[in-house]
């Protein structure tokens, strides 16, 4: 029976937003679609991109801006990527060292939970350091083409800080962040879950903001495939998208929480403690070494078509950030290519025959509409008579 399944090889980075892909593979959603989804854990986004490009992976859990950047890379003309599905929204946090947190506290005028207030405080700290000839502050992020980079820059620029001149922004892999913060090599950083929590417990860092404080609906990772592969494997891609979408819907059901946590915590998956994962799924994070917590319902958004269906505006927003920060030269052609990476049409096609989209999944008749029973009943009686 296993022989009938279509093999798909996908790479993932051990992050919370790999959940849909992991659950699709480990909870039978891929198999139900006739796929044998083999997941390979990766350590770097550069590896992920190269292995996808070389065909060693069919699909990948990928930074949305990286999928766009690879598509726009003039050195790699055959590298066009397709994102038929987003793997959720949000999930990042900005962490600062205890020392910087104290400085920001002294410099802050107003509510320290307001990013405008903290950005202005940061500008004052930066100016004071410059005045006394101190080294510029160093902030870490995970990849040049990442929402983490753009979130940090958006935050700083709001108070007139030039992220390329007034501070140093460096790329550092998340596993190194906590150690670098503890050693004083970093003053702050922006990372995805679960790494912010790790830095609080291991490096006495402080979570200053959740990503959602800065960008309410921030595009994060996508399910990425080579555009050529998407064209040649349309059926398999539909199945993969369907499996991941159903997995995401399963993840969102509270009754599945314990099982979801166990799946994600496994050593070959995220390899993070169950309590940490459960707290992250609740959007409840320890923000300071004294154990104080903060919760936000939108810390990480996984479920719901609105967070999974590729939104072209998200692709264009990311493209605009790349232009703003001089990562790509703007052109009408590049803009069109960037927008076209997000393929809502492929998502829609894949889920068209997803029977249970209305929560019921009757084999015949109109989709159930819980909010419009009249419309539903009218459609039913109409079709029954005809």
């Amino acid at each position: 029976m296993n022989g009938d399944l279509t093999p798909i090889r996908a790479g993932f980075i051990p992050l919370l937003d790999a959940a849909a892909l992991i659950v699709a593979a480990d909870r039978g959603f891929a198999a139900a679609e006739g796929l044998r989804l083999e997941l390979v854990r990766e350590v770097s986004w550069a590896n992920m991109r190269d292995r996808l490009m070389l065909g060693q992976f069919d699909a990948a859990h990928m930074l949305a801006p990286l999928a766009i950047a690879a598509t726009l890379d003039p050195d790699q003309p055959d590298m066009a990527m397709t994102a038929p599905m987003a793997l959720g929204l949000n999930g990042n946090a900005i962490v600062v060292s205890a020392a910087l947190h104290a400085d920001l506290g002294d410099a802050a005028i107003g509510d320290p939970g307001d990013p405008k207030v903290t950005a202005a405080a940061l500008a004052r700290v930066v100016a004071a350091r410059k005045k006394r000839g101190a080294e510029p502050l160093v902030f870490g992020m995970v990849f040049p083409f990442s929402s983490h980079n753009y979130q940090l820059r958006t935050w700083m620029a709001a108070a007139g800080i030039d992220p390329d001149r007034d501070v140093r922004l460096v790329v550092l892999p998340p596993p190194y962040m906590a150690e670098a913060l503890a050693k004083g090599q970093l003053d702050g950083f922006c990372v995805g879950a679960p790494w912010a929590s790790v830095a609080v417990t291991e490096a006495r860092g402080r979570i200053l903001h959740f990503g959602v404080d800065l960008i309410a609906r921030c595009p994060e990772k996508v399910l990425a495939v080579r555009s050529r592969w998407a064209a040649d494997n349309a059926r398999s891609l539909q199945r993969l998208v369907r499996a991941c979408a159903r997995a995401a819907a399963w993840c969102a059901v509270q009754a599945h929480r314990a099982e979801l946590v166990a799946i994600l915590a496994a050593p070959e998956r995220l390899a993070v403690g169950r309590e940490t994962i459960a707290a992250l799924l609740d959007g409840r994070l320890v923000i300071a070494p004294d154990g104080s917590t903060r919760a936000h319902g939108q810390f990480f958004i996984l479920d719901g078509a609105a967070s999974l269906r590729p939104d072209r505006r998200h692709a264009l927003w990311l493209y605009a950030q790349m232009v703003r920060w001089h990562q790509v030269a703007p052109s009408a052609n590049a803009q069109a290519k960037a927008g076209a990476v997000y393929r809502a049409d492929l998502f829609d096609t894949a889920l068209q025959d997803a029977a249970a989209d209305d929560g019921i999944g009757a084999f015949a008749g109109p989709a159930f509409d819980a909010e419009n029973l009249d419309v539903y009943l009218k459609a039913l009686t109409g079709s029954a008579i005809a």
Partner: protein, 204 residues
């Protein structure tokens, strides 16, 4: 900071190579192979951690990186020229030979060079790195296989023991039964052994 030499001058001096590899044995084999060819200055780092600082002190012309380390993402940042770093480092992708990049990634290694360095000078370095990484991968697979064979043999031996006690048969007969069942059910011997152990455990 990477070497600021112009490419013409660089032809005249020995290339500086930095090997970043979490496997110290493999790194030293790569280093030795490069030193044997001659004409290179080779440095080895077990783990980058602060890769930017490492690059500033080592100033390599060529950087060889173990793919199992997450540090490649840091290098991505250096692929863009900045005021601080006018000569970016570029990933070594010989456009005429993408098979080489394939071979490198497959072998678990990646190489970067400073912009403007002649591809012909880099080729032999990458060849050495790929060959040594491949050899190590083969060795590791062999070791894994030996380990799993050993573990399988232990499982089979334990299952044999259970069958012998339960059925009052000899070791040979027990083995024979397991082998026949495996053939009949088209399963591996170790799977049958595992079933016996699971069942025995539940019945205990």
């Amino acid at each position: 900071m990477l070497s600021e030499l112009s490419s013409e001058n660089a032809e005249a001096v020995r290339l500086r190579i930095l090997v970043v590899d979490h496997n110290p044995e493999r790194a030293s084999v790569v280093r030795q192979a490069l030193v044997d060819i001659g004409g290179y200055m080779v440095e080895v780092a077990p783990k980058a951690g602060d890769l930017l600082a490492l690059l500033r002190t080592a100033q390599p012309d060529v950087l060889i990186v173990d793919l199992d380390l997450p540090d490649r993402d840091t290098i991505e940042q250096l692929r863009v020229a900045t005021r601080e770093r006018p000569r970016p480092i570029v990933m070594f992708v010989d456009q005429s030979n993408s098979a080489m990049m394939h071979a490198a990634i497959e072998a678990g290694v990646s190489a970067y060079v400073v912009d403007g360095l002649n591809a012909g000078r880099v080729r032999p370095i990458l060849d050495v790195a790929i060959a040594r990484f491949k050899a190590f991968e083969a060795l590791r697979q062999e070791l894994d296989q030996t380990k799993s064979q050993l573990a399988e043999r232990k499982l089979v031996d334990r299952a044999k023991g259970i069958l012998m006690r339960a059925k009052g048969i000899t070791e040979e007969e027990a083995y024979d039964r397991m082998r026949k069942t495996a053939m009949k059910e088209q399963k591996k011997l170790v799977e049958i052994a595992q079933s016996i152990l699971t069942a025995a455990d539940m019945l205990r």
